[in-house]
Amino acid sequence: MTEELDAGVVAQQIAESGQLSEPDSTREVGKARRRKEDARLLAGRTTWTDNIQLPGLLHVAFKRSPMAHARIVGVDVSAARDMPGVVAVFSGQDVADEQGSLPCAWPVTEDIVIPDHPPMAVREVRYPGEAVACVVATDRYLAADALDAIDVDYEPLPPVLDMAEALTEASPKVHESGNRAFTWTFAQGDIDAAFRDAPVLIDRTYVQQRLIPTAMEPRAVAATTDGESFTLWSSTQIPHVLRVMLALTTGIPEHRLRVVAPDVGGGFGSKLQVTAEEVLCLLLTRRLGKPVKWTESRSEGNLTVHHGRDQVQHIALAAEADGRVRGVKVELLADMGAYLMLVTPGVPLLGAFMFNGIYKMDAYSFDCTGVFTTKMPTDAYRGAGRPEATYAIERVMDELAAELNLDPIEVRRRNWIRHEEFPYTTIAGLTYDSGNYEAATEKALSLFGYDKLRAEQSDRRDRGDPVQLGIGVSTYTEMCGLAPSRVLGSLSYGAGGWEHGSVRMLPTGKVEVVTGTSPHGQGHETAWSQIVADSLGVPFDDIAVVHGDTAISHKGMDTYGSRSLVVGGMAVLRACEKVKEKARRLAAHTLECSPDDLEFSQGAFKVKGTESSKTIQELALAAFAAHDLPEGVEPRLDADATFDPENFSFPHGTHLCAIEVDTETGMARIRKYVAVDDVGHVINPLIVEGQVHGGLAQGIAQALYEEAVHDAEGNLLTTTMADYLIPTAADLPDFVTDRTESPATSNPLGVKGVGEAGTIASTPAVVNAVVDALRPHGVHDIQMPCTPERIWRAIR
């Protein structure tokens, strides 16, 4: 049974916030419902991929390269084949003619270099952890033991680690074709004019360190076949896309391949991928005729889950003496890693339209080169391109404020789009449909106690307190709800951005909803139920939402880019409307009136001005029995719908961070964090709150804690959680969160998406705060993560 949140913390926040829609007790939308999926997820009483047991199941383990770059001279698997419990051992060479190449679905330019990407390396390894052989055994332990018996003879090749060096003539090559994958440029307005004789020029280089997405559930894959058809279970965000791509990659006909994403424990983009392990598990079950399963260890995951970020951003800003921005010029090096995976080259492009942030300017230019290195490929990670862009512009706006000795809020005010200017087409060509930066900022400043903290900062500076206070702001926006199919097409992406929903009233009046989105922690079952409950007038608990299995959900584009509610929730709403329309025709037939004479309220059609009515449950039964259907109405009350948005949605907000920096040790501790987000209408405030908290943690993690570190030979040093630091609740402050509400105009729900906002906003807010604390020491940048040692060295 689902309970409402009785403590009412969230509800109270909504009530106290004048700008938000009034909660209506008769409506489900807007209620802080506890998530109906949580009991089974939290208790583990569900099917995670690793829980799957199949008769005769065999276990797979991968032999991985201990080197960043080497030629494979030979792989001797003979000893491993003789180990107890070992069923088969294959090297890359053994499967070379069958394994194909992992796909890249986003060829961003005509001349992009997409190297062959064998799931298991055959001749050369190009990143640490790349698979070179695999063992199939009767249990996981024996499979792992047999890995030790595989003898791989490597001839070391020089690693390629630094992007700028990689682009020089003298650099060793990752691929024969060279280290440049593509160069993509974009320009609007007269950038030279904007920079010519500009009174203020700010020129900065920021490093977006490489991050390792760390979903709570490691990746896992299981595969089986009956000799003709195949089923693949994977801890994936994208069962539908995966099915298409695997059919293209493996040659298994699409209609013979079922892909299932059972309950999935987090992804953050890292499970938006077609992985080597998925392809190889299908290949192994095809070769052996037996079911197989693979689950990664955490260390294996740190090496071979696709990594995130890793850009060197050169950003130049030209401004008038009063702080008004003339133009922004961005030159980006984006580390692709060793290969282009599913959307690797597209990630920096998602940022291309965001480096202008919420600000008006006359000119903008963007130039991005994707570079191959001997590291794990990068790909989408929470925010994918947008956090990087937001970081650069929000950092550089603070630099502009410092240069002009203006308050950072004031500089932003002088440049941002005013609320009466919406819809506003930005210099990057996007049309921001709605927003109110003034309102969000005012609310944030007041919750933060901005003036008081500024006074304390000044006081600490004056008395030379060893603990200095810094205040950071981030007035971010982002584009989400990925995406209008026509826009994706114009950016050369291999697919569209529509979503599908199916709503079926069952004979007993209950409702089954099938969604093409693929939740992996977001709470779709709850939020979709709230939408359906209001639309059809049925109880929340009478609704079940199913997803993630291509045999059940036959159409879908899956979950990433804060798209599920904006696109998938809308598809479900559209399907509800179709169901209601069908029910209306049936009700009119049954009640012997015109459909126009019916009014629908609280789950029943009533003949206007009479007591004569039919509930939607009664109509569902009648539609099932089909004894007396009107002409042209088919049995059952059900409908399918798709939704393809006309525009992106643009959440925005103002985040403020106060940070205490101990100048004796360099330790930075967040003292106060205020997040005021505008994500449009809110279906479930509790889920929004959870997404914001998790997002903040992840963005703060980039600012202060996380970094994938390689040594000079290219070995990844951060392969365990003792070395790759992830903050937990113990390391994070209490977050003060609130919202403003400017509904999106691109969808009738007025929703914008909230999955990435916290991550995008918080990283620059935190680093701005760190730098703000240190400005009296002459510091204007600290490279992320702002470790105590880096801070200490900066102020020595």
């Binding site: 040790t665 804690y705 003792a722 070395d723 630091l725 903050p727 937990t728 390391d731 105590p788």
Partner: protein, 280 residues
Amino acid sequence: MIPAQFDYLRPGSLQEASEALASDEEAKVLAGGQSLLPLLRLRLAYPSLLVDVSRLEELTGILDERDHVFIGAMATHDEVLRSPAVIAGCPLVALAAATVADPAVRHRGTFGGSLAHADPAGDLPAVALALECVMVTSTRQIPAADFFLDYLEPALEPGEILVGVKVPKLGPGWGFHYEKFHRTAQAWAIVGVAAAVRRANGSIQEARIGLTNMGPTPVRARAVESALQGVELGEAVRQACAEAAEGTSPTSDLHAQADYRRHLAQVLTHRAVNAAAGRP
């Protein structure tokens, strides 16, 4: 966890455990598993036999003796930090135990295991050193000063098992503090300082300082200890603590460079001494 194969023995007596360990060079003691299990999981250790000492009576319990507290090797960090005998008799141990890892680890990891593992990044070896604890093994008693030989190398002979630790009660007038510097709550100390300070008449009479992660073994900051003798609280303490890194040999690794560790040792020693002396 997918470790390599090993045999497992849970002996019923200390003697049986010692014999099993002595008869097999590749055997390892398994206590709470705090350090051993990660090594097994990463296949960095391939022991032939794990001797599980968790059921040995001799290794359990925390006893309040007249001049010391005896902490059984199998006492978990959580038991230690909540023990009235420890809190009253040797509070520094409780203070440091409370900073070990996270609650889940503190309920499994053991006091004896942390010392016998002899990891200089662990919080308890520096405390044992500063408090001049005595290690009680299956065959003898070893002063802490002679126990930590090198990185992960305790002075235990094959077959010798750490049974417990005698922690001296320092008596009235002493104050204590453990200053741990780490980036996240669950992370290892970059540097830690265990300080015990005896104060009288506004000045420091005696100080004992152990440093965590400032070399291959835990180390005593002897120079600071002698510089602090008779020093009044205030600026003089800071000056005395400037010698904290003397005689240490910290490593440079992923978490910190050696010069930064030396700097931290000074700052943190100053803070630990002040805190132990009751000064905010």
